[in-house]
């Protein structure tokens, strides 16, 4: 890595951070609350993609069922709020609208699902892994479609956003900063993990599983841990999403959603910290711009996705970084 690139990269990162912090103020000045909503959505997707990148980029594990954990996180928040509204209890506990309870719980629920599904899926590899993760996600999807009590495929609305430590998060700007702070936290944790021994073992196992085993590491446990962390991140993303949209539906778990998350992670560039964030932003912006432009948006969007897969294997960030980081 040359010094010039190092400098350029630092400048870029600082500029991005400044832009992200300034964005809501600028948007408010311009009177465009929509920009804040859109940016919040990007932050949430970026968070899910960052978690996914841990197993996808560093672990080399193509999970085609990541939407399931996203959906489970969202449903946890929505179901707790639903029971609060109905004044009923779930498994003996009352419902709640408190983020400090609901969000960690969303991560626990998604994490547990990831633990069970991951433990079984990681016995396989390659295409089998892709397909078994998809199968588990589909099962979760069908269960929620049929769950009439929680709205089935019509989904579940949230009457209001969660309170954070008792305080209400009403305006778009506050919620944006909550999401931004959590994204920064997630990125920080993932960054730490990738440079730790944990990350080394994870990438090492991707490159050469046998060697890792020969020097005494069991890749299975490391992979499962990464899978659970990715699942929990998606769960947190889902919880935030439920608060942003104030609505959850099984659509959050559809296999095409899992495909979208994969596309975001790859689009930005794997094995980099900035990649998933850039990927999520590019994906959402391109898709929503195109579908606003023409009803036949798929005819243009499809080939863009194909082109990224064919010609930009290291994603947008990879292209930007050029050969510098390898």
């Amino acid at each position: 890595m040359t010094d010039r690139w190092k400098l350029l990269r630092s400048i870029l990162i600082v500029a991005a951070a400044v832009a992200l912090i300034a964005l809501p103020f600028v948007a408010a000045m311009l009177g465009s609350t929509y920009a804040i909503t859109l940016a919040t959505r990007l932050l949430i997707y970026a968070m899910v993609a960052t978690g996914l990148n841990l197993i996808l980029g560093y672990g080399g594990l193509v999970s085609f069922g990541h939407a399931a954990y996203f959906g489970l996180g969202g449903y946890t928040v929505a179901i707790l709020a639903f029971h609060l509204g109905e004044g009923t209890s779930i498994l003996g506990f009352p419902g709640t609208n408190e983020a400090l309870v609901a969000w960690p719980l969303a991560m626990v629920v998604s994490g547990l699902a990831a633990l069970v599904f991951g433990a079984l899926s990681l016995r396989t590899s390659g295409v089998y892994f892709i397909m078994i993760t998809l199968a588990f996600a589909q099962m979760t999807y069908y269960v929620f479609v049929a769950l009439k009590y929680y709205g089935g495929d019509d989904g579940l609305s949230l009457a209001r956003r969660n309170t954070l430590g008792g305080a209400r998060i009403v305006d778009a700007q506050t919620f944006y900063f909550v999401c931004l702070a959590l994204l920064a936290l997630v990125i920080g944790v993932v960054q730490r993990m990738t440079v730790s021994r944990f990350g080394m073992v994870l990438s090492g196992a991707r490159a050469d599983e046998r060697r890792m085993m020969a020097i005494g590491y069991s890749p299975y446990r490391y992979r499962l841990t990464a899978f659970v962390i990715a699942g929990m991140t998606a769960g947190l993303g889902g919880a935030l999403w439920a608060n942003l949209a104030r609505f959850v539906s099984p659509d959050m778990m559809a296999w095409t959603k899992s495909g979208d998350f994969l596309a975001m992670a790859i689009l930005g560039g794997l094995t980099s910290i900035a990649g998933p964030v850039i990927g999520a932003a590019a994906f959402i912006l391109i898709e929503s711009t195109l579908s606003g432009l023409t009803e036949y948006w798929q005819v243009i969007f499809g080939p863009i996705v194909v082109a990224v897969a064919l010609f930009a294997p290291r994603g947008l960030w990879g292209m930007l970084a050029g050969k510098q980081e390898r």
Partner: protein, 304 residues
């Protein structure tokens, strides 16, 4: 008992239809190592090709020819333009590129043909039904679908086991450099195999046209099912795809047929119906998960 026989036959029929799709997909994966999510799109192209040709010419035989030609040609173009560049790439990029292709094909059909589902009727000669057992009429067309499925299974086996091209395909899937050393143009072999797989997908599409709905997105409904089948069977194995197809066809059909009554033994009315409905939707996924947990490389693993 008669009902059980009829339901088993239904399962077999569903299985053989899936096999038509699974055979092409597993062939492409086994030989070239490419995961093709757009296989469902080729299925759609086959059905659209047949429906449009049949509507234009009024002949269902020409319709079949049109569907096969359309899917084989589309497969050829996709291979040459895109899939060729993906052979040595990680599965991740294959998944992404072919995911993009699905979007493209769905959009393109909406643009060129329109969004309304197309008419595709059962050929007159094959409409009506045959009494296979006293009191059980069975649709002639479904018997024809089964016959085609079995013929393709047999034909593929003969092709791969007995012909020179088949031998090259088998050799190519295990040892690429050796085949290349024999002076065979691997690139052309791959194009051929991919187009053949596409044509089989198209055949499946045009065969189910008169049974299902010829519409945008019809490929995605069967795509996941097809992947389940080849994963259960062991990716790359035609025999595995055959066994997997029949297994999934039977499990799915018999599950839908008998789970509700089974649940009613323990539960009442609509709760039983709802639960049985949910379980029969996820039953096939459950079967796959169990198979993979027990045998991580499918029922008939193919050595690498």
């Amino acid at each position: 008992m008669e009902l059980f026989i009829e339901q088993s036959l239904n399962g077999l029929q569903l299985g053989l239809t899936i096999f038509l799709l699974a055979a092409g997909l597993t062939l492409v994966f086994g030989i070239m190592g490419v995961i093709n999510l757009a296989h469902g799109s080729l299925f759609m192209v086959g059905a659209y090709g047949a429906a449009l040709t049949a509507a234009k010419t009024g002949s269902w035989i020409l319709g079949i020819a049109g569907g096969l030609a359309a899917s084989a040609l589309t497969g050829f173009l996709v291979e040459v333009a895109i899939v060729r560049r993906l052979y040595h790439r990680d599965h991740l990029y294959q998944v992404l590129a072919t995911f993009g292709l699905i979007l493209f094909f769905n959009g393109l059909v909406a643009l060129l043909v329109g969004r309304a589902p197309l008419l595709m009727e059962t050929p007159k000669a094959l409409s009506g039904f045959v009494e296979i057992l006293p009191g059980i009429p069975y649709p002639t067309y479904r018997l024809a679908v089964m016959a085609v499925g079995l013929t393709v299974a047999l034909g593929l086996w003969l092709f791969i086991a007995r012909t020179r091209t088949g031998m090259l395909i088998r050799a190519g899937s295990t040892n690429r450099s050796m085949v290349a050393a024999l002076g065979v143009d691997i690139g052309r072999l791959y194009t051929l195999v991919f187009s053949l797989g596409a044509m089989l997908a198209g055949l499946a599409g045009l065969m189910v046209g008169p049974i299902r709905s010829v519409q945008i997105g019809m490929g995605e409904q069967v795509l996941i099912l097809t992947f389940l089948v080849i994963v259960i069977g062991g990716i790359g194995s035609i025999r595995g795809a055959f066994v997997g197809s029949i297994l999934i066809g039977l499990v799915d059909t018999l599950g839908r047929a008998y789970l509700p009554s089974l649940f009613k033994v323990f539960l009442t009315g609509s709760i039983a119906d709802g639960l049985a409905g949910t379980l029969s939707s996820i039953l096939i996924y459950l079967v796959m998960a169990v198979v993979l947990v027990v045998r991580p490389r499918g029922l008939f693993p193919v050595s690498e």
